[in-house]
Symmetry: C2
Subunit: 786 residues, 2 copies
């Protein structure tokens, strides 16, 4: 993809963004904010999101809040097919956009203080407000003192997490301390069924309730996703403690109490009442979560939920939290990057690693990574080329390589749909075009200039396969499965080119490159070069396989591969048009680029930035301004194909037109800057990549975080400053260190080994923590680690 | 615009078309169809549409019909603002698409035969079915014999028209003859309020009923258009005659009778009952129509409706028809084209002239011409560049030149909005971009590649001004108003170009030419050449005005025109890039065109045509196939700028790639073919232009007729075969005649004269029917007519 960092372009509404999220405290392990500002509520809901890789939620209030909020609880892999909405239908558009379902909200507590509704949005005062997202231990906490309109004061503290150990369980510890005597607290824990997807084409409901069950402490709701028929079980259990003693003080279900806000609400709730004296504390432990029909048969869904909930409740909040922290310790052990001397960088990179793991941590081979994870609804929560280009490197480096393999396997499983997709644009003979956005291999995206034309994504899939094989040395994957993807993609390019009689070259017309600020251009250099590379990589792989005649013959038979096809591939490789300016010694981004009005981006008036929020689309398209690395994305993928001088020329030329309005841009620029020894620039881009959300660079995090681009921040350190690459099958490290840092340390998972790399101002230390001894290149010298 | 002749592209649904409309009988003055086929109902509703230039209707049944139909009654100028629907919002998109409101349907009659509902869709048999649209007299008639399921037979005849004399009145004569004794006929004339716009973005209701009134014979309903607040009064009066005697046999309003179909319907109705013997005839005269708040204050709307209806009812059906026929005679006197020896051509061209007049005949200076007139809802019924490019020539040639002037005046009145529109794409200093689709100068269209980029429409406005001034010699229009449009458009082009350092030329990047099968291309030759012409035409006009210093100074002051602007215009004119291939001696449609896979369109498999219904959009874009004349549109507008050899080369080159999937294509090709003396080809294209609907070339007339392109058919004869042009202010005629024709005769309105031109096989006769003697060029020789 290429997520816009603004609403203007990819948004489905004209709404301009909220006010910018104001920076949190600098802290190496926590995100802490002391502000309670109503115009920051949506942004904070995003920033403080929690998840466990399968289930996640925005940091919504448990209490009532009468201001604007965006309630969000999502389950990876549970989606609605939202009927396509376009202004004018183009032949070949997909039928639907798959969208993660916003689930019933089990977090809710409705509280009455002396019969007055506790509403965070309209109480008299909120003071000593503090939020903390503790990344080390994976929990989110709020503390504050609240004064009701009637004058009653309460001290409230809420701590919650989604268990990284038990993928269906979340837990909340909600504490109310009265700051006066005789405070009547009526408290109703409930599941809010009145949730809707905010990003909906037709305002259709996505789910309906088909069953529910309620007893004194437990609630269960079974919902069905309309159309896709997924079933979701939402459940919760609440227990109250006063002075550390479990209370049995349950009042039957009361609808009247629930409608106190005057709104008609669909809820499922118990009701409880307490009288608190001064300094007396009431604690509600709410344990809840979701089971769904991807993991259980529909028949046993409710029973499994009951067991799941019961087991968690029996363990209790503290023990659940404890096992959760142990799991996080384990994740951090493998994936932490320590940066000494610069808390800003330290916090930034940890936030990225933390949120990536909250979104996806490899626990389930069927899941993937949506651009906003569980933090917002934009992009539907489905899979883009972000996964291959920005996330797979991270998971390869920090997890068992099976995790990346699972992600690539999904593309293998979807090959048939990718072939159907290529047929839609008129290609055949097993050519495959992977979708721009998908949940099951079917295309979801519906802007013709992206859907049909941003075809470079096909190359990213092959790059990811190459990266996986280089990392794991698991060439068998290519032999067994990958080669079918390779051949299908090679066939795609071989048919998608045409021969230009005028140029006497093969050309690729009508594409959109990574720079989506050009549409329907001819001969995007990055796309053409990637096509050439795909053809060669496929041929090379076939050649390597051909040693094993039996395997080779099986593949040829299965794919019906003909010799003349391979001959044609070679002809295209050798004769593809690669726009180049001799005068400037740069690759030309695409035909016609040099006819533009080439004024550097720094001359654009500040109030016209970001362009996508201020300029009409045609003005953007005819301008030279580049949304994200395009030619430079090629230098990222093919670092060994060009010399430094050529990189420098291209970097210097294109950087001045690049506006970085995609969150995916900064990391690639950081990595190239390191190569060119522009370490200050690299550092600046690294900060932008790693703190795009924490510092809300583009005033839009109210809608969710830029999850997939967080992988780019990781790449900026490992492949950028760390200079990590794999050359001829050998791990190679060439570290540099920006001047703000005293030391940085990262670990790499590489071929069943765990390698620790410490880069200091004066020395570099590489340690093998796990696995067999190996040889690697450090600053181009072979060394052995044991 | 450029209406697609298929649903695929411009349609808002994926639905494929209905079965093709089967040709009607060849008849010089009538459209006659003897078929009653359910799959032709929608097509016939379009073909047999009636209107009077202000109000119109599809040829819906008066009776109940349980099959699929598309009820449509529309008033020009009464529209709803349908909130924009797009998949991804682009900055600068309009807020709404203006759509003509589908009004309450006053035509309806519900009939029960011996208490059984008469339903055309489910009766036992329909026989001797015949429809006739009489173009000479402007009425539509249906005759048939119907057998009910119970066996009762009726002979039914219905004749109706919208009065071209009384713009708010329509009339129906509906006759039922029983073919057995003792037939109980219950008949309920009603106004159906249960109508909705079929083309609606959000399925919102467009109108609501705010008042109604009902007596024994009259019904009035006042509706308000939601949002725009237009008010519509729908009214009808019904009188029954048995054996020629007025019946007073009225039964009070009965809802139960109305709900006989089982459907919940909002209606306003009277109820009447009769017993007919064998061969006894019951005639219902239903007179009705619409008044609206564009013509009356809302306060007096109902009273004015009452007076309007009463006057018409007092006159009665026959006299209303009579005065209507007289009006049509007058229209035909000025606009008829007679073709001897070829009924197919004769019927075709008359159908075009007839439908254009039904859609717009100049009666109201505030109205304009929607691409589908009153025959369908596509394109919203709003104004496109079709008006200037295809309709104004027709109205100039067949009406008082005030009619064309009124149309151009609308653009003058909308100049301020066109300036706002240009601001949206970043231009300023009074530059104007006229909208792609508009009802009041505000842009309605919302595909970026059209809305923001199909900017050649700006030149068409100036071409229409030039044509009007050449025709009328009313240069004062330019002095008083037109020059402001010219300057604003010149300013647009001067800012929309940029200088290419590479080419050392001014370029226009990111446009869509008339060929909408290319989007976002650079240097579309037609657009660039048109820009150059606009600059020159503006300069020339200013120069001419400068003789009158007072006027000139007023203009300079009002527009704040600077000398350096004019200097810049000259520089651009002299240095604009006009893509040209020396090798082929053709203009290149746009940069990169020659890199395409240049396979002639005839090689495309038949089952892949039309492309827009079969190919994905990207495949169309990267192909060389041309939707409608593009370079050739330039040869149409600038015939004197290029020699015949150049025209021939371009024609031969581009014709083979042209798929004519816009209804606007054939006429331009016909005109150019005549120039190249390819008369057979010209004839073929003329037939395609003039009979696109009657022969349903593109299987889509179920959705309405191609009204604006009908002007092109007229141009094919007058400017094509007739060779009419105005050279240096002098009328010039160079007629040729295709071999199928024995003679053709047309009239021209020219500078307050009426000129009759008869072109025979051997002789050409030009007669001045009205006005002062004049000189003209016949086959390039000066002659005088008196």
């Amino acid at each position: 993809m290429t997520k816009n960092t603004s609403t203007g372009l990819w948004g489905d509404s004209k709404k301009q963004t909220n006010s910018k999220f104001e920076s949190c405290e600098l802290n190496p392990w926590s995100i802490i904010s002391n502000d309670f500002k109503k115009d920051q509520i949506l942004s904070c809901e995003s920033i403080f999101s929690t998840g466990n890789g399968e289930i996640g939620q925005r940091a919504n209030f448990e209490e009532d809040y009468s201001g604007k909020q965006l309630t969000g609880n999502y389950i990876n892999g549970v989606y609605f097919k939202d009927r396509t909405k376009v202004s004018w239908w183009k032949n070949g558009y997909p039928d639907y956009f798959a969208k993660m379902v916003n689930c019933p909200n089990w977090n809710r507590l409705r509280i009455f203080v002396n019969d007055q509704l506790l509403d965070i949005g309209s109480c008299k005062e909120i003071s000593f407000f503090i939020r903390e997202l503790n990344m080390k231990e994976g929990w989110y906490k709020r503390d504050f003192i609240l004064e009701m309109k009637n004058g009653e004061k309460l001290k409230i503290s809420s701590k919650r997490f989604y268990s990284i150990k038990r993928k269906e369980i979340g837990a909340i510890k909600y504490s109310i301390t009265s700051l006066q005597d005789d405070t009547n607290i009526k408290i109703l824990p409930f599941i809010d069924l009145n949730v809707k997807n905010n990003d909906s084409n037709w305002n259709d409901p996505f789910i309906k309730t088909i069953d529910y069950e309620l007893d004194k402490t437990n609630s269960f709701v079974i919902s069905k996703v309309i159309g896709t028929e997924f079933e979701i079980s939402t459940f919760s259990n609440t227990q109250f403690y006063i002075d550390g003693v479990l209370s049995e003080n349950i009042i039957p279900y009361s609808t009247s109490a629930l409608s106190a806000t005057g709104k008609k609400e669909k809820v499922i709730a118990n009701c409880n009442e307490f009288i608190l004296n001064n300094n007396q504390e009431l604690i509600a432990f709410k344990i809840g979560g979701y089971c769904n029909s991807n993991n259980y048969s529909k028949k046993e869904l409710k029973n499994k939920s009951k067991i799941t909930l019961k087991n968690a409740v029996n363990l209790g909040f503290d023990k659940l939290l404890n096992e959760h922290i142990i799991e996080w310790n384990n994740i951090w052990f493998h994936s932490d990057i320590q940066i000494k001397g610069d808390t800003k960088s330290q916090q930034g990179i940890r936030y990225n690693i933390f949120q990536l793991n909250q979104t996806f941590n490899g626990s389930n081979p069927k899941l993937n990574i949506g651009p906003k994870g569980f933090t917002g609804e934009k992009y539907g929560g489905v899979t883009y080329w972000d996964t291959e280009a920005y996330c797979i490197p991270f998971y390869l480096g920090t997890k068992n390589s099976q995790v990346a393999k699972n992600l690539i396997n999904q593309r293998y499983d979807q090959l048939e749909n990718a072939i159907k997709n290529a047929k839609k644009i008129g290609l055949n003979n097993g050519a495959a075009l992977y979708p721009m956005a998908t949940v099951n291999g079917e295309e979801c995206h519906n802007e013709w200039e992206i859907t049909f034309e941003e075809i470079h994504r096909n190359a990213a899939i092959l790059q990811a396969i190459k990266k996986y094989v280089d990392y794991s040395s698991d060439f068998d994957f290519i032999k067994n499965k990958g080669i079918e993807i390779l051949i299908a993609v090679a066939r795609f390019w071989a048919q998608r080119v045409n021969y230009s009689n005028q140029l006497k070259k093969y050309v690729i017309l009508g594409v959109t490159g990574p720079n989506e600020y050009e549409n329907n251009v001819d001969n995007n250099w990055y796309t053409n070069y990637s096509a050439k590379w795909c053809l060669k990589y496929t041929r090379d792989s076939l050649f390597k396989i051909s040693n094993d005649k039996k395997v080779y013959d099986r593949i040829v038979e299965k794919t019906n591969l003909k010799k003349h096809e391979i001959k044609k591939w070679i002809e295209i490789e050798n004769n593809i048009h690669l726009p180049y300016s001799e005068e400037l010694n740069i690759f030309i981004q695409n035909d016609g680029f040099l006819n533009k009005e080439l004024i550097p981006a720094e001359k654009i008036p500040k109030n016209e930035r970001p362009l996508c929020q201020n300029w009409s689309w045609d003005k953007i398209l005819r301008s030279p301004y580049i949304k994200q690395a395009d030619v430079l994305q090629g230098f990222y993928y093919f670092p060994d194909d060009f010399n430094l001088k050529l990189l420098e020329n291209n970097f210097n030329y294109y950087e001045k037109f690049t506006v970085h309005e995609s969150s995916l841009s900064a990391s690639i620029h950081s990595i190239q800057s390191v190569k060119l020894n522009k370490l200050d620039k690299a550092y600046k881009y690294f900060l932008k990549a790693s703190r795009v959300d924490l510092d809300d660079y583009n005033k839009e995090i109210d809608q969710g975080l830029h999850i997939t681009s967080m992988g780019g921040a990781w790449m900026s350190i490992i492949e950028g400053f760390g200079g990590m690459k794999i050359t001829n099958g050998m791990l190679s490290i060439n570290p540099k260190i920006p001047k703000n840092w005293k030391q940085y340390v990262f670990k790499l998972n590489f071929r069943n080994r765990l390698i620790n790399v410490e880069v200091g101002l004066k020395e570099i230390k590489i340690t093998l923590l796990k696995g067999k001894p190996m040889e690697l290149l450090l600053n181009n010298n072979k060394i052995n680690i044991a």
